[in-house]
């Protein structure tokens, strides 16, 4: 430890057995020999007393451990570094956050660079701006900076630094030393190391972290007390400013993000439930192996496997974007083959419904918009191109290569239409990074990414890939020819003024000839099997599609500080995907054939709170299109979308236009395709939706028309009520009704058919008595309506 103000955090781990480590930092007792060199505080923090060497002994439950410590220059005044010591204080206390002085216009006239990424600017703001009024050199404690920061003068942000705080004292020392920027040869931080990085712990446990900065001169420094901590999930764990993490009761994995300057680190904690796990099915593939291993670790017993009906409905919705037909349901439920589930998955993947459904998914994030009527050719063509690629199972890397480096005219090469919606090269780079690499680079446009390693150079180097996209008028109005302009690809970092050549993320700039299309190089880099982002992003996106939650979630925010719940599984799936030749259907096969995917959504006594360990299937509301198509299928209605032939299903619609035109689709959250994020699709449940289902003419017309299901059922005189009710259940839920459900249905039909007491009839009803057909039909309309409003219908479960 160097200098009088050096701090050092001890972390003490007690190991009881192979797997269970316990943080004993605050539980142990410490002694120092000889005394007078350092002192150990109760939370394991070492403070300097004087130069010398000492031995520290930690004792806990009869075990003890010793470590040596050396202190030098304890009596000297060590020159302070504004960037390395003062700025982190502003970050740690939130002064330079985006909501406070860190926003572009500052707060109440005082501005700091966001999260301290521009320390030179901060130094100028503090020392020179406003004629230096923020600092009082003669009496540092009376500096406006400290009076406001400590709340001694009115401060909107309240009291952030108390007088007895180390950080307060550091600022005072900096002022006393004459407001230096940094001493000569002041090193810069190269790396941040968090200890421990990962821990299997238990509910309500605590864990002290230690954060060490590695500097450019090879030195290291404990920055535990000046780093900033944030939890990813407050319900699982919280963290205080000293780096002490407190676990809560929900089992699973969570992480704590640690930031120091532009560097970030992560601590991952896994909190087991500890229940006996003795009902694991035999793993079907690598998915189950990884998922079940973690369930064992967590002591989280999974739900039972789903029954055939549930599986059929779930997998048909997830792969083909529709309900199983009556025929499919009946045949699947009666089949006895052991491999019928796998065969069903294969069948669904061969059909065009799969391509239709996934084309809609991709069209949304690739922003297939029709802003004018004459844009239809382009948006239809782009959708059709995506659909064909999926139908033919074009390898994903080829699909992306063709997309990213598309040139030509829409008639010849439809993906160029993406450049019509996404015009600006910044938007282009951001969308490509987010969609295909899971990297949200937007922040790095103006400053270093706050939760990632990406700098502005990374951002603008990536923008350079799109710097040569040229446009010429196309043959038809509203269309353009996209081409690669001749010349050097570059983009300028506006802060540094530096012109950057194309630069893959995390790599050096690349030199290209003036004729080369940098987008080809980008596509090559992205689709290289060693690319750390590409395959992982896709498998994570598809995982989320089938499970409702990404292994990394949000699925397209795969930053270091948002680690996966199952890192090894993500790696395995990605490796498998690459080895399969980027075979999307194979990936879906792997996921859907897993027992994990086929688990029931009905929780057991242990896993009801599970949100991330896949111990059960997480039910989710049906997407707008599938719900509408499903209602139409059950009620035997056909939707007529503007300009589309009768019978085109909602899931087949090519662009955003239909969201605007259909109240149903918009109220149930079909996206407007304004964003590269799948989160634009609303999956919430709200009152407007409920009212629409219960109380709208739209639904009423579907139920009551003359060729609707109810009318058809009663027209079929061969059939009886039991058979009709059974058909309805099989259409809506892909299962026959249970005895009780059947009884309720029959009872309702009979009650409704009983002629009402004439005394209760209104005058109008007396004048116009119901026809026998209406008397037969109306109870069925009611019954179907009721089924449509059940959770079982509205959810994929």
């Amino acid at each position: 430890m160097t200098g009088p103000h050096a701090l050092h955090q001890l972390v003490l781990t007690a190991r009881h057995n192979e797997v269970n480590d316990l943080d004993a930092t605050a539980l142990a007792s410490y002694s120092v020999e000889p005394a007078g060199v350092v002192k150990v505080e109760g939370d394991g923090l070492l403070r300097v007393i004087a130069d010398g060497e000492a031995t520290i002994t930690a004792s806990y439950e009869g075990a003890s451990l010793t470590r040596q410590v050396q202190v030098s220059r304890a009596g000297e005044v060590i020159p302070i570094s504004f960037p390395n010591e003062v700025v982190p204080i502003f970050t740690r206390h939130g002064c330079n956050s985006g909501g406070c002085h860190g926003k572009a216009e500052g707060q109440n006239g005082f501005r700091l660079s966001l999260l301290g990424y521009e320390p030179e600017d901060d130094h100028e703001y503090l020392v020179q701006e406003a004629r230096g009024r923020r600092i009082f050199r003669a009496s540092p404690r009376h500096s406006l900076l400290l009076l406001k920061g400590s709340g001694e003068l009115p401060h909107e942000g309240g009291s952030r630094l108390s007088r007895d705080n180390d950080d307060y004292r550091t600022v005072v020392r900096w002022i006393r030393q004459g407001l230096p920027y940094r001493p000569e040869n002041d090193p810069s931080v190269q790396q941040l190391v968090v200890e421990p990085q990962e821990r299997l712990t238990h509910a309500k446990a605590v864990q002290q972290l230690r954060v060490v900065a590695h500097f450019s001169d090879g030195s290291t420094r404990d920055v535990t007390r000046i780093a900033q901590y944030e939890t990813n999930d407050e319900e699982m764990a919280t963290v205080n400013g000293q780096g002490l993490v407190t676990m809560h009761e929900r089992p699973g994995s969570t992480s704590i993000m640690i930031r120091f300057q532009e560097h970030v680190g992560v601590f991952r904690a896994t909190i087991p439930l500890g229940a006996p796990v003795d009902n694991l099915p035999t793993p079907a593939n690598l998915v189950d192996e990884r998922i079940f291993a973690k369930l064992l670790t967590l002591g989280l017993p999974p739900s039972l496997l789903s029954d055939d009906a549930t599986f059929l409905r779930r997998v048909t919705i997830d792969i083909a974007g529709r309900f199983p037909s009556l025929e499919e349901t009946d045949s699947f439920l009666t089949e006895k083959d052991a491999d019928k589930r796998a065969r069903k998955i294969d069948q669904l993947l061969v059909g065009t419904d799969y391509a239709d459904y996934f084309a809609g998914k991709w069209a949304a994030i690739l922003r297939n918009k029709r802003t004018s009527a004459h844009h239809a050719r382009g948006s239809f063509a782009f959708h059709s191109w995506i659909r064909d690629a999926l139908h033919q199972n074009r390898p994903y890397h080829k699909f992306v290569k063709e997309f990213v480096a598309a040139s030509g005219e829409v008639g010849e090469n439809p993906p160029v239409i993406w450049y019509r919606t996404v015009k600006d090269s910044k938007e282009q780079l951001q969308d490509v990074a987010q969609i295909f690499l899971g990297q949200r680079l937007q922040c790095a446009q103006c400053h270093h990414h706050p939760y990632e390693k990406w700098s502005q150079d990374d951002y603008y180097g990536f923008q350079a890939f799109f710097s040569k996209v040229g446009r010429k008028p196309g043959t038809q109005p509203g269309e353009e020819i996209i081409f690669n302009k001749t010349g050097k690809a570059s983009a300028q970092n506006p802060r540094s003024g530096r012109s950057l050549a194309p630069k893959p993320l995390g790599e050096a700039e690349i030199e290209l000839t003036q004729h080369q299309d940098p987008r080809d190089s980008l596509a090559d880099w992205m689709t290289n099997e060693k690319n750390p982002f590409f395959a992982r992003m896709l498998v994570n996106r598809y995982w989320k599609h089938f499970f409702g939650r990404g292994l990394v979630d949000p699925e397209d925010d795969m930053r270091v500080t948002n680690p996966p719940t199952h890192p090894a599984l993500l790696d395995d799936l990605a490796r498998n995907f690459v080895e399969s030749g980027y075979d999307l259907k194979a990936l879906i096969r792997t996921i859907c054939n897993s027992k994990t995917y086929q688990l029931s959504a009905i929780p057991n006594e242990h896993n009801i709170g599970d949100r991330q360990n896949y111990s059960r299937f997480y039910p989710r509301r049906l997407p707008a299109e599938i719900l509408l198509d499903g209602i139409n299928a059950v009620t035997n209605s056909k939707e007529k979308f503007n300009g589309q032939p009768q019978g085109v299903r909602a899931v087949q619609l090519p662009d955003d236009q239909f969201t605007k035109e259909s109240y149903f689709l918009s109220v149930f959250g079909r996206p407007d395709m304004n964003s590269a994020c799948e989160c634009e699709r609303a999956d919430d449940v709200n009152l407007a939706q409920a009212l629409h289902l219960v109380n709208s003419t739209n639904i009423r017309n579907k139920l009551a028309s003359n060729d609707a299901r109810a009318a058809l059922l009663v027209k079929d005189k061969e059939s009886n009520d039991e058979a009709r009710i059974s058909e309805l259940y099989r259409r809506a839920f892909s299962r026959p009704p249970g005895p009780e459900e059947l009884a309720i249905g029959l009872d309702y039909l009979n009650r409704k058919r009983t002629p009402p007491d004439p005394a209760t009839l209104s005058e109008e009803e007396k004048k116009k008595p119901k026809t026998p057909e209406t008397v037969e039909r109306e109870p069925y309309e009611d019954l179907i309506w009721a089924l449509l409003n059940t959770k079982e219908f509205l959810f994929n479960h």
Binding site: V350, R377, S407, G411, E412, P477, I481, G643
Partner: protein
Amino acid sequence: MTCSRYRARILLAAYTIFGMPLASAQLPQPDLQTIFPQGAQIGQTVEVTIGGADLGEATGLLFSHPGITCAQIPVEATEFYPAGHKPVNYRVSVAPDVPPGVYEVTARTRLGLTAPRAFAVGTMPEKIHQTNHSPESAEDLPLNTVINGHADASAVDHYKLDLKQGQRVIIRCDAEVIDSRMDSTISIADSSGHEHKRNRDTIGRDPLLDFTAPGDDTYLLRVHDFTFAGGAQYPYRVSASDAPHIDFIDPPAGAPGTTGKFKIYGRNLPGGSTGEGVRLGPEELESIEVDIPVNGHGTPELIAGPVHTSLVAGMTWRLEANGKKSNPVRIGFAAAPVIRGEEGQEQEIPVPCETHGRFETKGDLDHYRFDARKDQPLWIECLATRIRTKSDPVLWIDQITVNDKGVEQFKEIASNDDSGGTPGGKTFPIRNRDCALLLNPPADGRYRLRLHDYTGRGGSHALYRLIIRPVAPDFDLVVTPWYTASDKAAKGVSRQAALIRQGGTTLLRVFSMRRNGFRDSIKLSVAGLPPGVSCPPVILPSDRDTATLVLHGSMEAATWQGLVTVTGRSGEIERTARAGTISWSIGNWDTEFTRARLSQQLPLSVSAEEKEPIIIQPAQDRYEIELGGKVEIPFKLEKAMGLKGDFTIAVSGLPHSKPPSVKLKQDAGEGKLALTFARSNEFKVEPGEWTFSLRGSGTIKYRHNLSAIEIARNQEARIAGLEKTAQEEAARAKAAIEPVRKALQEAEKNLGAASDDARAALEKAVAEKKTQLQEAEKMAKDAEEKVKRAGAAKKIASDRLKQANDQAKEKDRKHATHSKLITVVVKPPPPKEPGK
């Protein structure tokens, strides 16, 4: 047939309401928008129905090939109408010697010939589609049969194909080549509904499916417009065939007068084999080598595609196998000795030469070296989009020098992308995405040519023709009927036919595409004009690529319909302009696709049926002045129809950005316009001949088809006459009954009083009288019925008269009209006298 006729009637009715030109700037003119079916089999006769605007009095169809003829379908005389013909139905016969291909047809109408419409002639039997909007109503598509259909809006047409396992069919759905607005899209599914293939935009905007049946099944073919638009202007011709299909040919050109070895890439090729890995879609293409004589004469059929593509000199060629002909492939006529391009290295080429290379990969960059001399400029040109590839070539020329260390230095001295500009603007879109430049070598020495593809993805089919040759004057001309919108903000484009109303004018717009480094002016003239129609030659200056010819018909010009030609001459070079047309009218070029194409003929019509509503009559059509002088042009306005508001007369055809103009009051009958021939920033006038017209624009009180009123009135009067005669006959017949009845009563009376002897004779007399009475009553009844029929016929005639009157009601209509051309000869000023 009943179904299709019914549909045709509906369509015709729709056109009369909606088929008026969308841009109302010019006067109504007949337009042949549809002809259905839009094709026929060679050697067969087919009944067609035409649709469009103002076709109700059509009398015939005129085809661009003399072997295609048309006959009227007679309508027999009826009680009140003489024999006639159906104006919208014709029998079209295709002679056995007409080569397969696409030709053109125009309709003869009251006012004249319409703009042309494509008409296909093929070798396969033809059928007409039925209503088939659902899989259940799918219609059989027999192998090697063409079904003529049209896409309906928001609908899909369905066809069934019975195929055996392994059976291969080439399915086409031609639309663009027959002027259809349809962006044709097809897909094929098996009987379980599983879609196997889908296609569009493979042959231009038209699709091609190469399908091999995976099993014995009835397959379902779905046909629709890509964005589900539809209507009568969306016709298609769909077929499933086992005939050979050619995708492309290598090399793309041959020297005229030679027989060359060509490699055909395609499907179902006789003796063809795969193995080269060449693909244009999912399937690998077969190839065969054939010897083809390159005749250098071209072919009679219409060359589909954008204007520049169709202008490339060449011929069409078809492969024949098992008695079936393939689709046509174009073989260009090489412009210089042919060299084969080599891949992967910089290639030395002689000058002049035509090099056949290819863009092997996406963004390929090919290098060539050649020698050039300072005093010998070269024309360097690449044909890629014009030979129907998906490449967008761009070229650079580098001068090569060697520095004192013996190292080569390259200096870029010229480059080009997208030569040719857009002379037709948005009204007649012509665009050339190929590149060309005139190289003036700065020194004798070595030069490098870099040729790059901006947009294609490369491959064996990404062929190009690179031509380097000495500068030699040459040019192409394209001429199309034209109008100038009265409203500057108008963005509509109407299909035009050249039509002169008596005393009026019609415009022809000429676009020049100068080649081989040619830069001079071109003198344009029209040949084949009938008596009473004139157009003085017009000079297309060296710095412009468009000029307007104004054809003027005198007040005495007689009705005439025929074909004319426009020629351009520059020095010794004379070229006939190729006719051009647009495929359909549009309302707004910012949102609708306008398609311009070449046409096989340029029809001109003169109509004595109607007079030009407003005629601008300049006092003289030739003036002579000195440079710097001022011309005052007096003119008269002759008005066959009234004006509403002011009428503006402006100079048209001179390069002013704000042409000199004068505004006349509504009732003015004459005016004058002064024009200065002095040099200014916008009119860099030089001594010589300047030709222009006076353009008048304003609102006229237009009355449409007045002769229809006359015809209808005469018809009504004639039928009224017939009705009157019938009434008179009925009265006479009625009157004739009473005497007979009385005679009968008398006879019966006589019979009652008669003796037995006389009884027999009297009984006979009574019977006779009874018969006479019955006959008289019948005659009266028949006559009465005829009166009723005449009444009904008269009502129809009266309705028609009312309709004609309604249509001819005075309506305000924006209108622009041109005077005949005026020539001003500008003489150089006399040399200044010394001392003054």
